[in-house]
């Protein structure tokens, strides 16, 4: 996608998930002050500028903290127990999600994980694809 075409995608959650369905982890950066924020949003929360651009993030990160969830809401109960954590990507940006393909006993704070894309979107609202974390391939 060309730079201009890319920046026509609005800086919204729908925009974030549109890129995600293309297996790209994208967020917004402020052209005025350089701040990056995840999730993307229409106004820079540091300087309030609306002059933003999409930037693609590397998918590798380090695990900051984790849990293993045994009691889940109805839509996730069939996956339980599942591991869940917060990872820190480049630039200090963080994201939370399920951790898959690792034995729960082997999960350690500081371990390397990468964002993986599950392109199947739900049929009903909100029709977003899912992402999760797994050991780097």
């Amino acid at each position: 996608m060309e730079e201009d075409e890319k920046n026509e995608v609005p800086f919204t959650i729908e925009g974030f998930y549109k890129f995600l369905s293309e297996k790209k982890l994208m967020t917004a950066q402020c052209r005025e002050c350089g701040a990056m924020f995840l999730p993307p949003r229409p106004v820079c929360t540091s300087c309030l500028s609306k002059d933003l651009m999409w930037v693609q993030l590397g998918t590798r990160g380090k695990l900051v903290t984790y849990t293993v969830i045994y009691v889940a809401p109805p839509q996730f109960q069939h996956l339980a127990p599942y591991a869940y954590g917060i990872i820190e990507l480049e630039n200090g940006l963080r994201l939370s999600g399920m951790i898959r393909n690792v034995e729960h006993e082997k999960i350690k704070i500081g371990m390397e994980l990468e964002v993986a894309f599950d392109s199947t979107a739900t049929e009903d609202w909100p029709k977003w694809p899912r992402y999760y974390f797994k050991p780097p391939s």
Partner: protein, 390 residues
Amino acid sequence: MKGKPLVAVVSAGLSKFGKMEDFTGRELFVEAVKEALQRCPNLNPKRDIQAVFIGMMGESFEHQGHIAPMLSDWAGLLPAPAIRTEVACASSAAALRLGIFSILSGIYDVVLVGGLEKMTKRSTPEVTEFLGMAADFPFEQWTGVTFPGLYALMATAHMHRYGTTEEQMGLVAVKNHHNGALNPKAHLQKEVTLDKVLNSRMIAYPLKLYDCSLISDGASCAILTRPELAEKYTDSPVYIIGSGHGSDTLGLFQREDLTSLRAARKAAQEAYRMAGVKPEDIDVAEVHDCFTIAEIIAYEDLGFCRPGEGGKFIEDGSSLLDGELPVNTSGGLKSKGHPVGATGVAQIYEVFLQLTGQAGKRQVEGCRIGLTHNVGGSGATCFVHILRGE
């Protein structure tokens, strides 16, 4: 302004907390109001109560929205106008703060504040889902986290950074169940052993069933007036001398520090400054122990001990009923129960009882200054209030 009473609490009421099979939320609220009015015979509710502020988190539990005017009606307070506040589990501390503002503004002389939640008709997975709505939907709920999960993320981070242990967290549950066993309104009035806590089933590692607060039904209320009018209604008023409020990102993952709540530190700082008191001046505190780790973090955020020393604070007995700073004498959310919208004002109810010497078997002798700490969600909201007895 320092230490000057903002408002007087002239009465308070609480429904029984628990699995209240035969009652809808509105009936529990009426029960709480009835107690508050009985405690305050000089008050004529229809004439004196000018407005009602009520906290409730979710319409989903009872399929009922627009509750505020209905509750004013059911409690017999119409035509007093009513509004509802919602900031997740801190909804009724928000109602309290608005009630304080309404009196300080000069608009009203007497208002009723309170909260309620009717949760037990729903299955645990449904309750998990409804409470999950207080997290950031597109990035937290959507990716499979739960509320126990969010606090478990904080617990793992606290253990990793400070060496806090599952045993220390378990001791919070043991203490709060001990206190709750002395509270006739508590949901689970029974003691538990550390062994039982540690061997209870896993909910979200490292949090087990007995690390989690209860899914309860219940309602709470308090009657506020201008300090100079207090003696019209009671001989033993309690004064609110500090009110603090903090906000933070909804998403836990967006916060730099996962071992402390910035909103709580901010609310505490504001309340302490307004009240002109320090953490060491607090005689009794009700803190938001939605999970045992939350109480340990609260000790630190409120300055009862240094960051990282919350585990030691419970381990050395400081927060026990006969310790230097008794915390959650009511049994806390853990044993008294956590009907989320009722919790903030239920904490005020307990401190009101303590400061007026009405706390029965769990009375802390000679207490004069009390604190309440009510958190919304994973910490995007926190209110701290400081109260003084006569």
